[in-house]
Amino acid sequence: METTGAIVSENDMQQKKGPSRQAVHLSIVIPVSGRWGDLRDIYEQHAKEISATGQSYEFIFVLDGPDETALRPLRVLKLEHPEIQVIALNRWFGEATALAIGFEHSRGSVVLTLSSYFQVEPFEIRRLLEQFMKDGYDMVVAWRHPRIDSLFNRFQAWVFRRLVAVLTGTHYHDVSCGLRAMKRKVVQEIHLYGDLHRFLPVLAYEQGFKVAELPVQQSRFDLARRIYKPGIYFRRALDVLTLFFLVKFTKKPLRFFGLVGSAVSLSGAVILGYLGLYRLLGYGAIAGRPLLILGVLLTVLGLQLFSIGLLGELIVFTHARDRKDYQIEEIL
């Protein structure tokens, strides 16, 4: 993976093959990207809860870009607890890539992701792990419920949730919550990039994994005004659209472009047919009619969409050999 080369290996921070690297059960991956709280506090409170479960664990912080304000507390933390892994990326890659790199460096058979600020009360982490172990799910994602938030925040969260539900056919109440527990095979199979971390439960479900939600108590530090710039909203919308195509049409692009394309060009052809008859039957000239341009443009647009679908099929075909269309649960 090309991003691995981009990691600033802080020699004093990373000890890849030290004597302390034994098998661990639980890997806690914390991507530090964009917004973060008191990282020491995060580490200490969660470490306390996890030690109480008696399982072996490791903490991995992935710093998305060398931001000194985040790196400084991590350095101090690392001095006190040398077993923590800190990975600093040399530029901003986005949270999804930070997570993916954290996954690569993790060793536990269970991977737990945490957000770099308090989204959920730390004690809930134990309940989440219990639930995860007990019911044999491949992934359990936290659902902050009841949600303490401003009306506006709840409204935009609702719009986002509805959009994801309609386009992907999955129903998660809090799909982008940072607290999730997963089996190792989940992180191994899912390729994360861009902003796809937000939809990890949807992607896991599409891969055939069993995903469950667990209502947890929201942290009081989670409160923030979430009014973003218009550009952010546009990006979110594009993210959902990307997800939609990934989930529904990556294996059959012509199903989508072909259908839309033929509908559009058919409506164009109907207009042109009408105008053609109109002219041939001698009702008058059509050259001055804007409807003619509309008909032509619809035909052209439809055929363009259709041909993009064809090209998509060609791309799928060339890669049909190296990707499997199925995931096997078991061979007897």
Binding site: G288, V296, F317, T318, H319, Y326
Partner: protein, 320 residues
């Protein structure tokens, strides 16, 4: 080197199941009886395509009793093509037979398929000549679809949709199958230079369960036919295909300009604007298509699959 010339030919029978708990047991008994009578080693590969009923439990108990059976279970329902491909991927035989898990195909036809294969074919398709399904919703659409597939791809098989087929393992493992390509195995297998034959097979009415397909698939099948045509006919030369498509539009654009120019005396300036807009739009479409053709060429060059048209067969067959 030539895998099909081993001393003991070995047959793998691949059967995908999706929610067929009533059929599994009976089908296994029939397949086993036929397998024993073949007079050569065989194995059975059952693929459970994410069934939610007891199919997998029954398969497990069959597996326990019979070492010749292998069972592959999918994590979720991936569809018939994926199930068949998984079966092909895991089949160890030199000859692979595929059939439906709903008891409508008759395993007793397997020896006939193998005999035909022995005449020197690579793919032998079953033809359900006396198909036991409803005429209006199943047989008529199928007749039309098969006719179109034959016309468009040039592989004229009566019954593309029949799952009961026999293949040489070396051939079918080379055929790229994905999406819902199981309907187009004959056409797609031309990608592996297959020699194709068909024979009439039995077909029984459905006794248990329900059909997993309805009439809604018509438009999907139509779009798939276009895809298959492009892949089998033009994937080696995408530029040719897209360039060919662009030609009528560029001609149309030129014709629009020419006719407008000839009638220029009668056209007022507004009408000129309209006619030129029309002509330019067609030009754009033409160039768009040529551009896609170039990207298509790039895709084929950088992709890892080399289509059959551009290949000389690597292994020369020893024809008797």
């Amino acid at each position: 080197m030539d895998e099909s010339r081993k001393l003991s030919p070995y047959v793998s029978i691949v059967v995908p199941f999706y929610n067929e708990e009533e059929c599994v047991g009976a089908l296994y008994k029939k397949v086993r009886r036929v397998g024993e009578s073949l007079g050569m080693p065989y194995e059975v590969v059952f693929v459970d395509d994410g069934s939610r009923d007891r199919t997998y439990d029954i398969l497990q108990s069959i597996r326990k009793q019979d070492p010749l059976v292998r069972v592959i279970r999918f994590r979720k329902n991936y569809g018939q093509t994926a199930a068949m491909v998984a079966g092909f991927d895991h089949a160890r035989g030199d000859i692979i037979v595929s059939m439906d898990g709903d008891l409508q195909n008759d395993p007793a036809d397997i020896p006939l398929l193998l005999a035909k294969l022995d005449e020197g074919f690579d793919v032998v398709c079953g033809w359900r000549k006396n198909r036991q399904d409803k005429f209006l919703t199943r047989r008529l659409p199928s007749l039309i679809a098969n006719w179109i597939i034959g016309q468009v791809t040039g592989v004229k098989i009566h019954d593309n949709g029949c799952s009961l087929k026999a293949y040489r393992s070396s051939t079918i493992k080379k055929v790229p199958l994905y999406g819902e390509m199981h309907r187009f195995i004959p056409a797609m297998s031309t990608q592996a230079d297959a020699r194709i034959a068909e024979i009439v097979v039995n077909h029984h009415p459905r006794r248990f369960g329900t059909s997993k397909y309805g009439i809604s698939r018509v438009w999907r099948v139509l779009l798939d036919i276009i895809t298959v045509k492009m892949i089998t006919g033009f994937s080696a030369r995408p530029m040719l295909w897209f360039g060919f498509m662009s030609l009528p539009f560029i001609l149309l654009a030129l014709a629009t300009i020419a006719t407008s120019a000839m009638g220029s005396a009668e056209l007022v300036p507004d009408e000129w604007t309209v006619m030129y807009t029309v002509a330019f739009s067609f030009f754009f479409l033409g160039f768009h298509l040529i551009g896609l053709g170039i990207i298509g060429e790039l895709t084929m060059r950088t992709g890892d699959f080399v289509p059959a048209q551009s290949l000389v067969p690597a292994v020369q067959r020893k024809d008797n």
